[in-house]
């Protein structure tokens, strides 16, 4: 509908609250981190302009570099292991085996339970004395393998990544909602031509859901880059900063009132996010055009 004069007044009134909140909590903050990242500031004394120095400082900090590597690992594991597993389970549940609704509900549980509760749960699971994992190891007579999983240099990061990777509900549900739109006739035609279930999944379903798989991979990568809560609660970056992430690094800079470096880390995080999103999109486009 074309707005009348009266409508225009109403529209101005209706759009203002959302616009004000958006400007206040999205536009200004992004501008803020961009600007403050160029200053030396501790929140108390006057800020001095230092140009790119904060970026150089954090880049020289081995903890920050380790954080970037860890974030890339999170992103890779999430998009290259977690998402394929989710797609596999979506293809299986899409065939509506007995009890599929129950399984779909259960797989989705970790999405509705808070990150804090999950972290507490796994901190209990990994606990070296009374945790379930070491309990299992002792029960099968391999008590010698029972270690402090989150406190040992070489196991801390894998321990964090592994428990996360098998929570597939979110991506699985996204893919399933895409799969439900695939025309059943395709499967029937393939069935008549003698294609097995696996062939049907590979040659019919997968090509049809390419865009939602792309979405999931993007989401997984982006969420991997933002990873904070679990690491903060389970290891707080330890042992020896081995599990630190970019957001955790940023958080620790805030605690030390080093706002310049903190905001430089924020800007890097935003930039890496944009690069990853555009990169994955470009990759898929490349794949599409080379096939045509």
């Amino acid at each position: 509908m074309k707005p009348t004069k009266k409508d225009r007044l109403g529209m101005a009134l209706f759009m203002t609250p959302a616009l004000v909140l958006f400007v206040l909590f999205f536009i200004i903050p992004v501008g803020y981190v961009l600007v403050v990242s160029l200053f030396k500031w501790n929140g108390m004394t006057a800020a001095t302009f230092v140009g790119m120095k904060n970026y150089v400082t954090i880049w020289k900090d081995p903890v920050f570099r380790r954080s970037v590597i860890n974030n890339v690992l999170w992103a890779l594991v999430a998009s290259c292991v977690q998402v394929p597993l989710s797609v596999l389970m979506a293809l299986i549940l899409n065939r509506k085996p007995r009890g599929w609704k129950f399984f779909r509900t259960v797989y989705f549980f970790p999405q509705v339970i808070s990150g804090v509760a999950l972290a507490m749960l796994w901190s209990a699971m990994y606990n070296s004395e009374y945790g379930l994992i070491n309990g299992i190891l002792r029960a099968i007579g391999r008590g010698d393998l029972a270690i402090n999983w989150l406190g040992t240099l070489n196991t801390a990061l894998p321990a964090l990544l592994i428990y996360w990777v098998f929570y597939i509900g979110y991506y699985m549900v996204i893919v399933m909602s895409d799969l439900s739109g695939v025309d059943k006739d395709f499967y029937e035609a393939a069935e008549i031509d003698g294609a097995s279930k696996i062939q049907q999944a590979w040659f019919i379903s997968l090509p049809m859901i390419k865009s939602s798989v792309l979405t999931c991979m993007t989401l997984a990568a982006v969420l991997g880059l933002r990873q904070f809560e679990q690491v903060y609660l389970l290891t707080n970056g330890g042992p020896a900063n081995r599990t630190s992430t970019m957001v955790l690094y940023l958080y620790k800079q805030i605690q030390n009132t080093r706002y310049g470096p903190a905001n430089a880390a924020s800007v890097m995080l935003i930039c890496v996010g944009v690069i990853v999103i555009l990169g994955i999109r470009a990759l898929f486009k490349l794949g599409r055009s080379s096939r045509n």
Binding site: A124, S177, F228
Partner: protein, 289 residues
């Protein structure tokens, strides 16, 4: 004769293959279900044990089911107060969020004006902003307007950061409503506000419930900003609560488990009731974005 034998052989091979596939399929399905449920069940069972039992054998069932752990959790931690805070903060921010988002979505979806797609694209891009990266400015803004360590501060922040998602969901639904009803109302003299409150809002109920459910769940589970923007015990939300249980129950693990279980229960119940809305809320942004 030979031909028939061959077919039979092939069929048997196929059957074996199909059988194997079926077994594999069920192994996978059960593995993931087990993986999700077992730790939760273990936590629930452990929360009914005594500490000695927990240390003794992590697998055993409690000899006597210790309801006392739950009473402890409520007594020691001020759990009720924190749940109340979470309900108030989540509830009010959901109302504010959905109101702002639906008013904006109404304008964008139902009227043609210059720049409406530009506005929408801007908002949609907001979904992709890594909010964790904005901790410093959020802290500064909330402190500057004098809302640090208040429930109002969290309500305002939560309402704001959920607006891109809610607008996205509600607009999607409003776009699907037909023009005719609205035009008829217009001819009957129904003004801008009348059409919003009497026609569009009731008709977009589904989208609004989805957005509201999603928003409330996100607030209920939010930890990072609650941790950043509050410092005193009486404004703490339930998530901060269970985080700090670790300190309060430093030796009393079973009561801590009870507290964690108590914090999970509302999420699970809410999920069971609003499953459709939660799933579509969590996926709609993804699928169309």
């Amino acid at each position: 004769m030979t031909k028939r034998n061959e077919t039979a052989y092939l069929n048997a091979g196929d059957a074996a293959k199909a059988g194997l596939g079926k077994v594999l399929k069920w192994i996978l399905m059960l593995f993931f279900a087990f993986y999700t449920l077992f730790p939760l069940i273990w936590l629930i069972i452990s929360s009914f044990k005594t500490n000695t039992e927990l240390f003794g054998d992590p697998f055993s069932l409690p000899a006597v089911w210790q309801i006392g752990n739950y009473i402890n959790a409520f007594k020691v931690s001020g759990l009720l107060k924190m749940m109340g805070n979470s309900v108030v903060i989540g509830g009010l921010s959901t109302v504010l969020n959905v109101l702002c988002a639906s008013m904006l979505a109404y304008c964008i979806s139902r009227f043609h004006f210059k720049g409406r797609e530009a506005i929408f694209t801007f908002f949609a891009a907001g979904i992709l902003v890594p909010l964790n990266a904005l901790m410093v400015p959020y802290y500064v803004i909330i402190s500057q307007i004098g809302l640090y360590n208040t429930r109002a501060g969290l309500i305002l922040l939560y309402s704001a950061i959920g607006i891109p998602m809610s607008t996205f969901i509600i607009r999607g639904l409003m776009d699907s409503l037909s023009r005719e009803i609205e035009e008829a109302a217009y001819i009957d003299g129904c003004g801008f506000f009348g059409r919003y409150f009497r026609i569009i809002l009731p008709l977009s109920q589904n989208g609004i419930v989805t957005a509201a459910t999603f928003q409330f769940l996100t607030c209920w589970n939010e930890f990072v900003f609650a941790n950043l923007l509050t410092s005193s015990q009486n404004v703490r939300t339930i998530q901060l609560g269970i985080r700090y249980f670790t300190n309060q129950f430093s030796t009393d693990f079973v009561s801590m488990y009870a507290a964690i279980v108590i914090s999970i229960v509302p999420s699970i119940i809410g999920y069971m009731i609003f499953q459709k809305q939660i799933v579509s809320g969590l996926t709609s942004g993804a699928v169309k974005g």
